[in-house]
């Protein structure tokens, strides 16, 4: 029963979702929203599982003084600070009748000056990683990688405002050939490749979903037996 019940629920939910795409009438048309709401409720409670696990793992590290225990300590302290600030801000906002994320609240201050700054820092690092990954990917080691290098050169030449203005500045032509060629590569060669992958993905999702609905694929409930 431990296996059969989840399989039955999966099959029914999967079929309802598939049908609801073609039937707009209530309740099918609203199935996605209804299931979505239930999913959000369950996921909200499940966050506590994650939080408790994070606290447990971090505290264990600190208690055992295992390698990198300092990071565990910082994690627990940060988590407690944010929880205390979050709860007190919400409590104050309820008693004052103000928004918990209004300017000037400790929660907003932490969000703007700590969380946003850290997120932006991580995201900014992407620029450097793109440069290093591109440098490695575009090395001309084979025919294919040379082709990729040449294509990438023309796409970049068309995307950055350097080559077309330079050609125009030299008086050769005012037609933006570099950007037109880059657009052509992106619209035809790149789109064709992307669509081939997308078609494969769509069919793969259909096939995987059918396997899950029929109970052939059981990895999401832990395996076969």
């Amino acid at each position: 029963m431990k296996r059969e019940l989840p399989l039955l629920i999966t099959a029914i939910a999967g079929l309802v979702f598939a049908i609801s795409y073609f039937i707009p009438h209530w309740p099918f048309g609203e199935a996605e929203n209804i299931f979505g709401d239930w999913y959000s409720i369950i996921a909200a409670f499940a966050i506590w599982l994650g939080l408790l696990n994070l606290a447990q793992i971090s505290l264990q590290k600190v208690a055992r003084k295992s390698e990198g225990w300092q990071y565990g300590l910082i994690t627990v302290i940060s988590m407690l600070i944010m929880l205390v600030i979050g709860f007190t801000t919400v409590a104050n906002s309820i008693s004052d009748g103000t928004a918990h994320d209004a300017d000037g609240t400790p929660y907003k201050w932490m969000y703007t000056h700590v969380y946003s700054a850290l997120s932006a820092t991580m995201f900014s690092m992407l620029a450097f990683f793109v440069a290093s990954a591109s440098y490695r990917a575009f090395r001309a080691r084979s025919f294919e990688s040379t082709l990729l290098l040449i294509t990438a050169f023309f796409v970049m030449a068309g995307r950055v405002p350097l080559f077309d203005p330079m050609v125009s500045y030299l008086g050769l032509t005012d037609t933006p050939y570099f950007s037109e060629f880059a657009d052509w590569i992106m619209s035809y060669a790149n789109t064709a490749g992307q669509r081939a992958i997308m078609i494969g993905i769509a069919l793969g999702i259909t096939s995987s979903s059918l396997r899950v609905i029929l109970g052939i694929e059981r990895s999401h409930i832990g395996g076969d037996s």
């Binding site: 499940a46 997120s119 990954a133 591109s134 203005p165 793969g204 096939s207």
Partner: protein, 470 residues
């Protein structure tokens, strides 16, 4: 098995020189040009008072009808453009609604000039409504305030909104979906019991296409052409062949490398929850990785960003460790929660990679901007990396930074490829039927568009329109 990993540094100084050159040469980025643009924009904001213009001609033939193919609560309003629309004499249309033809009317929508329809999504079903559409023209009155003059249409009604039981706009999608679905089911049942007669249903669906499609022969030709590649499989039960997927075959090599080096393995299941099919596909691969890791007695760690993925991954690993007879090796701490935040997750994993220098890292699931941050750090840490995702935008990053990448459908095929279970392999064959239908559509479409473009014969041009992406 252990190979040295050379490191390359990009010439950042060269990049800076190019950027500086670009800024200098690009007229659009010049500070002077930008300042001029701002000055011009603020000047145009100040408008002089005008005398009220004559009301524009009203739109005609206003018709309101229940919005088709929806769950109710919407009315589609259409009209013929105002006579002043073509000469720029109006600024747009305003749609009004009332429960009585004599009013009062309330504003429910707007449309720009040149537009002849809008949808009112705020109706209550089973109530009779009347609609009026005004062509409007804006001006600035003597007091300097914005005002408008309107040409009002004759109210139209009554109209009642309501839900539909079938979205007729998706009939062809449904038929094609059924053909692909029953092709997959055909091969699954055939793999299970040796024969299947589900292809008979497919014949019925193909006949259905003939009824619902305007030019049925093209679509039927495409579907029959696609299915014809599999005639032997459908009627003869030919053996199922699955091509080699290098990324999955490399799982053992990666785990072996970790065992030799005495280092741990990381498995990253992406940042989506268990409601994403990519995460489910990732769990199937985790089962295989966990089984090999258990056999080799190598530490496998799964840091997750969603609590429900944590629970599922634990069950999957427990099952895998038990299967190979090593349930004692599994510890719940191997699967642990990090954070739900995208970049917080990336930062935590980067730290783990740098500190712990894992021998192998698997990325299997749905990834977004963090994909390259993770993969480049893993590469820097010297790990052998195997990735798999169905996010097309992230695939190039994984291809550039990882040793092996499962591209799109390979991620979904991994479960069948690893299990070699006949029914799962059968589903792959059915999936190929869909691919063959799409390929046939591409071939037939290309021929029709080419012939249509070259000959310019009206019939071919008409057919070619079906295949042009709008």
């Amino acid at each position: 098995m252990c190979f040295p990993r050379p490191r390359y540094r990009p010439p950042l100084a060269l990049c800076s020189v190019f950027t500086a050159l670009a800024l200098l040469l690009s007229p659009g980025l010049s500070p002077i040009t930008l300042a001029q643009d701002v000055a011009a924009a603020s000047e145009s904001d100040t408008l002089a008072p005008q005398a009220p213009p004559a009301p524009p001609a009203p739109p005609t033939d206003v018709v309101a009808a229940d919005n088709p193919n929806d769950g109710g609560g919407a009315v589609l309003v259409t009209w013929t453009l105002s006579a002043d629309d073509s000469n720029g004499g109006i600024d747009g249309y305003v749609v009004y609604r009332s429960t009585s033809p004599s009013g009062p009317f309330e504003k429910v929508g707007e449309a720009g000039s040149g537009k002849s329809k809008t949808t009112d999504n705020q109706t209550s079903d089973k109530i009779e409504y009347y609609y009026r559409v005004d062509a409007i023209r804006n001006y600035v009155d003597a007091a300097g305030e914005k005002a408008l003059v309107a040409g009002a249409s004759v109210p139209w009604g009554p109209v009642v909104s309501g839900p539909q039981w079938f979205n007729s706009g998706r009939t062809i999608t449904l038929l094609l979906f059924l053909i692909v679905t029953f092709s997959i089911l055909q091969f699954i049942t055939q793999a299970k019991s040796g024969k299947s007669y589900l292809w008979i249903l497919n014949v019925i669906f193909i006949a259905g296409l003939g009824i619902f499609v305007e030019t049925p022969w093209i679509l039927i030709l495409i579907v029959v052409l696609g299915l014809s590649f599999f005639r032997k499989d459908i009627f003869g039960g030919a053996e199922i062949f699955v091509r080699k997927i290098a990324g999955i075959d490399a799982v053992e090599e990666a785990v072996g490398r970790a065992t030799e080096m005495g280092k741990k393995i990381f498995f990253i299941p992406g940042i989506q929850d268990m409601n994403d099919v990519q995460t489910i596909a990732g769990m199937a691969i985790l089962g295989r990785v966990a089984a090999v890791a258990a056999e080799y007695e190598t530490w496998l760690e799964v840091p997750v960003s969603k609590s429900m993925v944590m629970v599922t991954a634990r069950e999957t690993m427990k099952e895998a460790y038990s299967k190979v007879g090593r349930p004692d090796l599994f510890q719940e701490a191997q699967v642990h929660f990090v954070t739900e935040d995208q970049f917080g997750y990336a930062a935590a994993l980067d730290g783990m990679f740098i500190r712990e220098k894992p021998a192998a890292i698997f990325y299997m699931g749905a990834f977004f901007a963090e994909s390259l941050i993770l993969a480049e750090t893993g590469n820097e840490a010297g790990a052998i990396q195997i990735a798999g995702t169905a996010m097309p935008a992230q695939l190039p990053f994984f291809v550039a930074a990882c040793d092996y990448t499962l591209i799109g459908e390979e991620l979904f095929a991994a479960s069948a490829y690893l299990s070699r279970e006949p029914r799962q392999l059968g589903s792959l064959k059915g999936q190929d039927v869909g691919k063959a239908i799409f390929l046939s559509a591409l071939v037939v479409g290309t021929i029709i568009v080419l012939v249509g473009s070259i000959t310019e014969l009206p019939d071919w041009m008409y057919l070619a329109d079906y295949f042009r992406v709008q």
